[in-house]
């Protein structure tokens, strides 16, 4: 198992390298001169001499590979450059904002796991009957709702009309309910569908037929026998969901005014603040790669075939 983990870690290195390269290239393809952009924030018009001086200061006169190495070197020490718009270090700003995004993602993934698996089990236990149809309709709806529209609808209903929840902002648990609901909506539906189909696949196997022949109740079969086997593909999907949530947090954070890294990325885009955007891409890439590693490890632990040294399927 240790060997497998080490192998996995090594296989992730090229991906990390590629992600950093991609983040760097995003800065290079920026239309316009970065030195000029850095100087001209807030309507200021720099002189050509100032621009040349800034170019040297930013190391833009070096060839791209050298610039890349310098950038990665600094990034490894946590220095992601200075934001054009706020003049603050990008690394510090991201570090200050990441807890909000992580809290949001943690709430959403918890909702996804609980609701998704519960809905999937319900649908599978009553396959083809009314509960299955209701779950089917619900997941289809969830998958077709754009997050930003769902967010506005929830605000309209729960904040404006009923007054039960705060419209936006960061605070106690009440402030997290709507953002987490919105962010988890689509992945809950995916998890429910996957749980259902994995359970139905298990039902077709002999041990389930045997259990049913012994007269075991459908729910007992689902919870005690089939679910532990069906959970493996669902775990693998949750990693993708977490990645999707990092992306979705851009929309959700901006609508609910949460000061996380998603809203930071959006303001970086509006301010044409490229170091901030590069830092953001690098950070999300890193988090996503770590999530992939975590999910692989968990699904390995859940799958005895792999855990006990067999071949990975």
């Amino acid at each position: 198992m240790k060997q497998y983990l080490i192998q996995k870690l090594i296989s992730l290195l090229p991906v990390l390298f590629g992600v950093s390269l991609l983040a760097f290239v995003l800065g290079v393809i920026t239309p316009g001169n970065p030195a000029e952009l850095a100087l001209s924030q807030g309507g200021y018009e720099p002189t050509p001499e100032q621009i040349t001086e800034m170019e040297e200061q930013m190391g833009l006169d070096a060839p791209y590979p050298v610039q890349y190495l310098r950038w990665v070197g600094r990034a490894l020490t946590g220095d992601l450059g200075t934001s054009y718009s706020t003049r603050n270090p990008v690394g510090e700003e991201l570090a200050r904002r990441i807890p909000v995004t992580l809290k949001l993602a943690a709430c959403s993934i918890t909702l996804t796991i609980i609701l998704g698996i519960a809905l999937g089990c319900t649908a599978a236990a009553w396959q083809g009957r009314l509960p299955d149809r209701i779950v089917g309709a619900l997941t289809n709806t969830q998958l077709s709702l754009p997050a930003f529209w769902l967010a506005l609808l929830l605000i309209l209903l729960f904040a404006e009309t009923l007054g039960w929840l705060p419209t936006s902002g960061n605070g106690g648990p009440r402030y997290m309910i709507m953002p987490a609901l919105v962010l988890s909506s689509a992945s809950t539906a995916t998890a429910a569908r996957l749980t259902r189909s994995a359970l139905l696949e298990e039902f077709g196997k002999q041990y389930c037929t045997a259990a049913m022949a012994r007269g075991i109740s459908r729910w007992r079969l689902v919870l005690k026998n089939a679910l532990p086997n069906a959970i493996v593909p669902v775990t693998a999907m949750l990693g993708n969901s977490l990645g999707g949530m990092l992306g979705g947090s851009i929309i959700v954070e901006s609508i609910f005014a949460l000061p996380g890294i998603g809203s930071y990325a959006l303001s970086a885009v509006t301010n044409r603040d490229y170091p901030a955007l590069q830092g953001y891409v690098l950070l999300t890439g890193l988090i996503y790669v770590l999530i992939t590693l975590l999910v692989d490890t968990v699904s390995m632990l859940l799958n005895p075939k792999v855990r006990l040294g067999g071949k990975r399927i």
């Binding site: 090229p14 995003l26 189909s197």
Partner: protein, 274 residues
């Protein structure tokens, strides 16, 4: 061929209705979708303006009719482009293996190493708003997914005895790929295309809502929702109607994808669990 299911007929019908209303918009829209008339701003439903007017007095019905044209066309183009690219790379990698496969897989892994929406916002943000840049952002974030699925399928089909037979008969690789492997994946590709067009519509809508995609004053459903950010509390119909349109379009595409999957009896696990 199986009998057409209710789901298939329903979703295809809904989709046809949406496409038709977009196609016929210039003929059936009662007003110019961009005609501003401040004297009738923020009105409710009335005979003159069946779906009311927005904050600039533009007719909602006309804007809704026009509202899907750009994003549907864009979603189809972007999906077709990235799918063709992913298809070619995936088939080449899966069939020939070796260094080529390793290189393509590595490239796909890198592009999938950053969550799609994050990369899309970054690309669209750096290149600036506008249709060509939006197309690029969509292309760069979706080709890798296709390539991966197509590669897995190619690997599977390649091991079938008849392919080995063809090879031993001396068939050229290009001929095997194009005439034998591609047709075998065709139903998968149709299902994949339908589902992905839906996802692409969703991405375009999200980016446009954030101000990074289709720009105002274009009559577009997500732009309409984004425009109404200040007024939706007093005039909910400004976000309810265009949102419902996006929802129905996505629902039609998702259901159609599901129905086609059942119809064609798709067995590929990756396509099944999309």
């Amino acid at each position: 061929m199986k009998r057409c299911s209710f789901k298939l007929v329903f979703s295809a019908g809904l989709l046809a209705l949406i496409l038709l209303s977009g196609l016929l918009a210039p003929l059936i829209a009662p007003y110019d979708p961009n005609a501003i008339d401040m004297s009738v701003k923020l009105q409710g439903f009335s005979p003159a303006h069946p779906l009311g007017t927005d904050a600039l007095g533009r007719d909602m019905l006309s804007r809704v009719l026009y509202g899907g044209r750009t994003s549907i066309l864009l979603a189809l183009t972007a999906t077709a482009l990235s799918m063709t690219f992913g298809l070619v790379l995936g088939m080449l990698g899966g069939y020939f293996g070796g260094f080529l496969d390793a290189a393509i897989t590595a490239l796909a892994n890198i592009f999938q190493g950053i969550p799609g929406t994050c990369l899309m916002v970054a690309i669209a943000g750096i290149l600036g708003p506008g249709i060509p840049n939006l197309l690029l952002a969509l292309f760069f974030t979706s080709w890798a997914g296709f390539s991966r699925i197509v590669r897995t399928e190619t690997l599977r089909i390649r091991e079938e005895p008849y392919i080995e037979g063809l090879r031993s008969l001396g068939a050229r690789s290009a001929c095997i790929l194009w005439k034998h492997i591609f047709p075998n994946m065709f139903t998968n590709i149709i299902v994949l295309f339908t589902t992905r067009v839906g996802r692409c519509v969703l991405s375009i809508a999200s980016l446009s809502y954030l101000g990074l995609g289709i720009r105002p004053p274009a009559p577009d459903w997500s732009v309409m929702i984004s425009d109404a950010r200040l007024d939706y509390r007093s005039a909910p119909h400004l976000i309810l109607i265009p949102g419902l349109c996006i929802f129905l379009l996505l629902l039609a595409l998702n259901l159609l994808g599901d129905a086609l999957r059942d119809q064609f009896d798709v067995r590929s696990r990756e396509v099944k669990n999309l």
